[in-house]
């Protein structure tokens, strides 16, 4: 089996100025008065793991444990501070769907732009625009500006666009379904199809029931470090015992 993700000793920290105002003036003043202190905030500590093709790995942990930061690293939005992280293949982040939607553009233009942001080929997308809109149930509004859409419509369009192509690696931050009623059911079904289709999935969720259902393996993060890794039932049981 080939590794899709390989992390070795991954640390992630960012620097925080003890002074919160970020202006040149205060920085200069504090510098003269020797008041500037830079503190390192370590969000992830020494993570080593690998994920093989087709696996579904869930990341659980309390708020602030570093789950979302780890997803950002896997999405290759930020590089690790030290350590090595290799991610192979196309990555589709389902993190805050619709980041990149522009209210001034039409539904059609937004589908194309969002897909281009996700690294897809525009020609292929153009041929699929109608189908994407149809699946989201917004065909009538396709050529209106996005600001005329209801928030439910925007969420449906974002979900439909994001899941239109199955990537090699799917990163999910709590987005397992959108909308209400029929669409919630439909989107959940599509999500489960994608997850079980052989795509590698990294899933961040607080919903332990879903995690137990979908994941092959669970990583438990606490204060940025790996507390436990293993099969879902064991890790979830230990996590619940600790009061999570």
């Amino acid at each position: 089996m080939s590794d899709v993700i390989k992390a070795q000793g991954v640390d992630f920290s960012y620097r925080v100025l003890t002074n919160h105002q970020s202006s040149l003036k205060t920085l200069f003043k504090d510098f003269v008065n020797r008041k500037v202190r830079i503190e390192n905030y370590q969000a992830l500590k020494d993570l080593s793991f690998s994920v093989t093709k087709g696996e579904t790995v869930a990341i659980i942990g309390k708020n602030g444990a570093g789950k979302s930061t780890l997803l950002k690293l896997l999405a290759q939005v930020v590089p690790p501070t030290t350590g090595q992280l290799k991610v192979i293949g196309s990555v589709a982040p389902m993190i805050e769907l619709g980041a990149g939607f522009n209210p001034e553009l039409t539904g059609r233009e937004n589908i194309i732009f969002y897909s281009a942001l996700l690294g897809r080929d525009i020609k292929e997308v153009k041929a699929r625009v109608e189908e994407i809109a149809d699946w989201a149930g917004i065909t009538d509004h396709l050529d209106y500006q996005l600001r005329t859409f209801s928030s439910g419509m925007i969420a449906r369009l974002a979900f439909s666009t994001a899941t239109d192509q199955v990537p090699d690696l799917l990163l999910i931050d709590e987005v397992l379904s959108v909308g209400d009623g029929e669409f919630a059911f439909k989107s959940k079904k599509r999500m489960q199809e994608i997850i079980t289709s052989g795509t590698t999935v990294i899933l961040v969720s607080h919903d332990l029931v879903t995690v137990a259902q979908l994941a092959n393996r669970v990583i438990w993060l606490e204060k940025g470090a790996m507390k436990m890794v293993g099969n879902p039932s064991e890790v979830i049981a230990a996590y619940q015992l600790s009061g999570g």
């Binding site: 202006s23 040149l24 999405a75 982040p93 001034e104 732009f113 281009a116 690294g119 525009i122």
Partner: protein, 268 residues
């Protein structure tokens, strides 16, 4: 060993799909700006003409007679305005583009530079559209277009590099320090006044002339005016300065961005 195929994507490090995205962003930048106005993209044509007209009323009394024989003040002025707009707008938009698209950059893995390049290229495209009314003004004032016209495109290319480079370097500074924008605005104003946009170089003292000639924008502008309608003199030195500053600032801007971006992205 097989030679690597030389293509746009191998030169920039962008994938083919990234280049498609770049084109999409330039299109968006051009259409969105005027989307809600009645005459739409027509503003791109009208705006430099109106600005030039106002300045022409003010300055033609002062400077029109000071130009060298054969040069005309109206196209001289308008060329200056087009180029300074290209520089100013392109630079500020490139510098802002990274912060403005922070929501995207913290969630999707797109090369962040793409937004700054798009802003620079959009300013270049706007500039090219502005050449149409400029050509009109050239004919109205009794001049004709020069056969060196194609050089304008090369000048624009180097200015786009210059703008993208400085814009990238500024973009990380803008994210880190809120008040950097105000300081840069003042510096930009000084730089524009040190460019012969609306005055002829000859009205300045020799000392000031030397200072103005040090400004790379002066070389860009001289080359632009010379190659469009023979409205200035461009020396070999100007061409060397153009190429050197364009490439230098592009490389240095990319370097600064690459160095500081990993630390800056967590501030978005």
């Amino acid at each position: 060993m097989r030679a690597k195929k030389l293509s746009l994507s191998s030169l920039t490090g962008f994938s083919k799909n990234n280049l498609q995205l770049l084109r999409l962003l330039v299109q968006q930048e051009l259409t969105l700006r005027y989307k809600r106005s009645v005459i739409g993209i027509g503003w791109t044509l009208l705006n430099p003409m109106l600005t030039s007209f106002v300045l022409w009323i003010v300055f033609s009394f002062l400077f029109a007679g000071k130009l060298q024989a054969g040069q005309q003040f109206a196209p001289y002025l308008m060329a200056g305005i087009l180029l300074s707009t290209f520089f100013n707008q392109g630079l500020l938009q490139a510098a802002n583009s990274i912060a403005a698209n922070g929501g995207i950059l913290t969630k999707v893995a797109v090369p962040p530079k793409i937004f700054a390049f798009a802003a620079s290229l959009a300013a270049y495209t706007n500039f090219l559209i502005g050449l149409i009314p400029l050509a009109l003004v050239v004919y109205i004032s009794g001049q004709s277009l020069s056969i060196n016209l194609p050089i304008v495109f090369i000048m624009g290319f180097f200015l786009a590099l210059f703008v993208a480079g400085i814009g990238l370097a500024l973009s990380v500074i803008f994210i880190r320090f809120d008040d950097a924008k105000n300081i840069i605005n003042v510096l930009l104003l000084i730089l524009i006044y040190l460019t012969p946009v609306f005055y002829p170089l000859s009205i300045l003292s020799e000392q000031m002339q030397r200072l103005v000639n040090l400004n790379p924008l002066t070389s860009y502008l001289d080359i632009f005016r010379w190659s469009f309608s023979g409205n200035a003199i461009a020396s070999v030195g100007d061409f060397i300065y153009l190429a050197v500053t364009g490439i230098f600032f592009f490389v240095i801007g990319n370097y600064i961005f690459k160095r500081y971006w990993p630390r800056t992205v967590s501030m978005l």
